[in-house]
């Protein structure tokens, strides 16, 4: 991945964290994965969304992450600092099913034209080139709530059809998701280091919604393995502010997730 604006004073990961954090709204309940999602949600909580509630898959409701003590996954005690409640993993995931979660927020390894995510196999699943770690909560989160995905924008990651649907987006597009039994939720936004992408209401194909500072439509298309639709009006995102970057760096001083 290339930093879209070298000399901008922030890394691509920091850009991702800032841009996706801005999509979260005050008062929402957000089911956040470790890494960029956790950082972005914490950033939002400290800046524009103090009433944001973070849920971690490991069983934590409403924690406050301590700067400099980021957890290695969502399942360690660092995730529980000053939480409102701890509960079992199964009951935490059931909060998604019950409908209590506004936004599921994850990273992605590979995504396709309909927002399906793959974190299981690269290549033929029967004889994979690479066995990836798998679903974790991804399948459940993507099946049961509105999703924001934060990932780096590379051609090999944005493919026409994923090798394996680990976490369902709109499956084959159109009405195929709800026909499969997934009648709630769905892919909402994909945030990359180049742009913010949404999905066309009818075809459920990926669409460019807005561009990050200094990025062109062509640049986004060039880094994508399929043809992107374009929103009627393409927005331009504001660059990360000094305040946003300062808070981010306070939380991840060792650049564990934002190198």
């Amino acid at each position: 991945m290339t930093d879209p604006s070298p000399g901008a004073g922030y890394t691509a990961s920091e850009l991702l964290a800032v841009m996706s954090g801005r999509l979260l709204e005050d008062g929402q309940i957000v089911f956040a994965g470790v890494g960029i999602p956790l950082l972005a949600a914490t950033l939002a909580q400290r800046l524009h969304a103090p009433g944001l509630t973070i849920l971690f898959e490991g069983g934590t409701i409403g924690p406050f992450i301590v700067p400099g003590e980021l957890p290695p996954s969502t399942n360690e005690q660092r995730c529980t600092r000053r939480a409102n409640m701890l509960l079992t993993i199964t009951d935490t995931l059931l909060l998604l099913q019950r409908g209590y979660v506004d936004v599921g927020f994850m990273g992605g390894a590979q995504i396709d034209i309909h927002g399906n995510l793959n974190s299981s196999f690269i290549g033929d699943p029967q004889r994979p080139t690479t066995r990836l770690p798998g679903s974790g909560g991804g399948n459940d989160i993507a099946s049961l709530t509105r999703m924001i995905v934060a990932m780096k924008h590379e051609k090999r990651r944005f493919v026409d059809k994923v090798d394996f649907i680990t976490s369902p987006g709109f499956l084959a597009g159109g009405e195929s998701r709800s026909a499969s039994g997934l009648i709630a939720g769905g892919m909402y936004r994909v945030v990359t280091d180049l742009a913010i992408l949404g999905f066309d209401e009818a075809s459920r194909r990926m669409r460019i919604d807005s561009l990050h500072p200094g990025v062109t439509l062509q640049q986004v298309q060039d880094n994508t393995g399929f043809e992107l639709l374009r929103a009627p009006t393409i927005g331009a995102t504001e660059p990360p502010s000094a305040r946003e970057l300062a808070v981010l760096r306070e939380f991840d001083p060792d650049r564990l997730y934002t190198a």
Partner: protein, 317 residues
Amino acid sequence: MVESYLDLRGKIASRDRSLREKVMSLEEACKLVRDGDHVALGGCTLSRTPMAMIWALIRAGRKNLTVSRSIVSTEGDLLFASGAGARIVTSWFSQGIVWGVSKVMRQYTETGRAKFEEWSHMAMGLRYRAGAMGVPFMPMRSMMGSDVAGQLDSWREMTCPFTGEKLMLVPALNPDVALVHVQRCDPYGNAQIDGLQFMDIDIPMAATRVILTTERIVSNDQIRRAPDQTKIPFFTVDAVVEVPFGSAPHECYGLYEPYFGHLDSYAEATKRDPEAGVKQYLDRHYHGPKNWAEYLGLLGIENMLDASRRGRSIHDD
């Protein structure tokens, strides 16, 4: 794939479920696990992993186990590489996101020498829960439409007779043995777990035999002073083993955090030549020490103190 109800009940009926002492050594507890068993592990990723019991089973030369867990970390590498584990059933399997994809997991699964069977995380939880409740399945609303379901054949879809909605039915999982590590329990197996519970309430209830390892054994009197803190009832438990730092180098809530330095060096050691690296690790840390204390010594006293200091900081609030 799902046992008949009468078989499941028969297995429980034949167990001694009386209020009795069941304290034993790691080595004695190993005898409750047979080659080929389905062994469910408590904890999640780096938390409350029943590491001492896994260590003992590998040392005892157990083979061909199917191992299930909510999320599998380094213990999965070691089970594969030692030959103890032939199949791992879980939702996620790698050392941990900060260390990248496990090279050992890749080596064994990509060459087909061991199997990594993937379910959604909630499916794992509801499979244990169905097993714990004594019903053959749980209905749920995820995993449908995905290739996670597509590659498995032991689930069913149904049309809900009440709402007409499509539902996924996941099969009950009743492990032969459950290994759970807890902060404290009494000699009968009444266990109290602080902090994150993961799937460790359902797993012992679903299993046919249960081995608890515990940071310390407390009196039954102490348990009875706060019965609403007991999370696992004694009658599900077959063995109680006191093993301080029984999850090291993983964490145990409120007592010690992960030994991060050790985990970094494990990741480094298994990076270039995963197979040789993990074998060396097993020789040194699993087959070398004469007992658990010597294993902890290899991890280092300073690291133990550091992990403990970080672990106990949870009580500073």
